[in-house]
């Protein structure tokens, strides 16, 4: 049902779509305006515009540290996910297609078990003993792998099914390539697009993850979201600049993913 309409019916649909856009835009636009205003209280519009909150934010070393640490944890988790999920997908699709049914159940777990619940167990299991990881970035990297798993598994599976893995592997092997060589030099390049899209999107939601970061590590290795939460008592303008900077960064990554997705189609 994707036929554009003109006339009265068309006008109604355009109004609805613009309203939807406005509802979604409103909190962002408000925050942006607040982050650019000198002071704003008890009036509908701010008194004056300034960039000083952004300058204050981007020269705050605690912010820059938190930002860098967030990047490190996210990139670490994504690297781990790629290393763990790619071989899994290859093996499941090429050698044991029946495992796919089991995997489809397993990847429901990170969806069905809220991070708060996992945290209860993680705090106890890794709080002390030989694997005392609570309070270090390592535990976050592990948790973020499970967060990204369902998403990456689905995205790359779709891509694998589209490239006809078995034929591709058979052809490469007929031409004399070993399984390893065929997997790395033939299959992997064909998966690049799907992989990149899922990495960009995973990054943007890992970057926004708060629950694990706050409960398992907190201020001992402050990530951007934890920093944001800890700054709640500072100026609202400063916080707005922080929110907008964060959102701009996520925007960049989502936009990149969208672009890649279009190229593929």
């Amino acid at each position: 049902m994707s036929r554009a309409e003109s006339g009265r019916g068309g006008l109604y649909h355009r109004v609805v779509v613009w309203l939807l856009f406005l509802i979604l835009l409103l909190p962002l636009a408000g925050t942006l305006l607040y982050s650019l205003s000198t002071s704003w209280s008890a009036t509908i519009l701010p008194d004056g515009l300034t960039l000083k909150w952004y300058l204050a934010l981007w020269s705050d070393t605690r912010f820059l540290t938190a930002f860098g640490q967030s990047l490190l944890v996210c990139f670490g988790a994504l690297a781990l996910s790629v290393v763990l999920i790619l071989p899994l997908l290859f093996v499941v699709n090429y050698h044991f297609p029946r495992l796919d049914a089991l995997m489809n159940i397993l990847i429901l777990l990170p969806f069905a078990v809220p991070p708060v619940v996992s945290s209860v167990g993680l705090l106890q299991v890794y709080g002390s003993g030989p694997l005392a990881m609570v309070g270090t970035p390592w535990i976050l990297i592990g948790c973020y792998f499970t967060v990204a798993l369902p998403f990456m598994y689905r995205a790359i599976t779709n891509n694998l099914q589209a490239i006809n893995l078995r034929d591709l592997m058979d052809a490469a092997q007929l031409l004399g390539a070993s399984t390893w060589k065929a997997a790395f030099l033939v299959v992997l390049p064909n998966l690049r697009n799907g992989l990149m899209v899922s990495l960009f999107l995973s990054f943007s939601f890992l970057f926004g993850e708060f629950v694990f970061a706050n409960l398992l590590v907190g201020t001992r290795y402050e990530t951007l979201q934890v920093y944001l939460n800890n700054m709640r008592n500072s100026s609202g303008h400063f916080n707005s600049a922080l929110v907008i900077s964060y959102f701009f960064f996520v925007l960049l990554f989502t936009w990149a993913a969208n672009r890649l997705n279009k190229d593929k189609a």
């Binding site: 909190p27 050698h95 809220p114 708060v116 167990g121």
Partner: protein, 280 residues
């Protein structure tokens, strides 16, 4: 045959690192929670559960969680249905733009969203002042149940649009034309054709929104500094709060939440099997 056997063993070996990490970070914590929910100072048994269901405080947390999840999912899905239908019927330039924007805002949740709403709808928020001056509202308390439902609805809408938009593909334009030619009013078309076709997708999406809201923690925590009584806040407070640490009771409440989520997931899988995807 021998070499292919070796290949299969090597392949299985490749699965080992994944299995180790998945068990360490997903299965083991969950198993710990399940096991320890049965462990209490009085020994093994259901004591923690009877404490949860015997306490008005925890029952209130469960009630709040369910109420906020239900209303935010319901309002969210109504907005998403109206929005996705109209998105299907405007020109592609506007559609692509709004869809892309909606996908981006689906990442705008948690702490940053709570902050944005404080600025907009807090006691001195720009929108609160505007609406008060216009005489639309007397007062608005963002830190109340109603406030939380508004906030949750905001992050439910983009997710709802994302999930529902493809479902409208199943509604074919010629059905609407045929129905109109045979004399059906738009209302009759929706009552007898449109809604029945969309029902599995609608229910499936509603169920995902419910799960999304039930598990939410960051937004409500950031907004109320952990003072609003919902399940996720209670669970976290019992393992990482300043007072009243009680991991066993936290485990029991966590298992109640997992039970609710499991129920939702099962319903979702069942609906998925009956949905328009499979029918094609």
């Amino acid at each position: 045959m021998k070499s292919s056997n070796r290949g299969r063993w090597l392949a299985l070996l490749c699965l080992l690192p994944f299995a180790l990490f998945f068990i360490a970070f997903q299965i083991a914590p969950l198993a710990w929670v399940a096991l320890n929910s049965l462990n209490s100072p009085e020994g093994w048994g259901l004591a923690n559960y009877s404490k949860v269901f015997g306490s008005r405080f925890y029952l209130q947390a469960i009630k709040h969680s369910l109420q906020i999840a239900f209303w935010s999912s319901l309002i969210g899905i109504v907005v998403a249905v109206i929005g996705s239908y109209s998105l299907h019927r405007v020109d592609s330039k506007l559609r692509d733009f709004v869809m892309a924007f909606s996908n981006m805002t689906s990442n705008f949740a948690g702490v940053p969203l709570a902050f944005a709403f404080i600025i907009l709808l807090g006691f001195n928020g720009a929108l609160t002042i505007l609406l008060k001056q216009a005489g639309v509202i007397e007062d608005f308390n963002l830190y109340s149940k109603t406030g939380l439902i508004v906030l949750y609805t905001y992050f439910q809408i983009p997710l709802g649009v994302l999930l529902l938009y493809p479902a409208f593909d199943a509604l074919r334009e010629d059905w609407r034309e045929s129905a109109a030619l045979l004399g059906a009013s738009p209302w009759q078309f929706w009552r007898h054709i449109g809604l029945p076709v969309l029902t599995p997708a609608l229910l499936g999406t509603f169920v995902i929104l419910l799960a999304n809201a039930l598990g939410a923690y960051a937004t409500v925590y950031a907004l109320t500094t952990g003072n609003f009584n919902v399940m996720t806040i209670r669970i976290a407070a019992m393992v990482a709060g300043d007072i009243a640490l009680n991991p066993n009771l936290a485990s029991a409440l966590a298992m109640v939440l997992v039970g609710l989520m499991a129920l939702i997931t099962v319903v979702h899988q069942w609906l998925l099997k009956r949905s328009y995807h499979v029918a094609r």
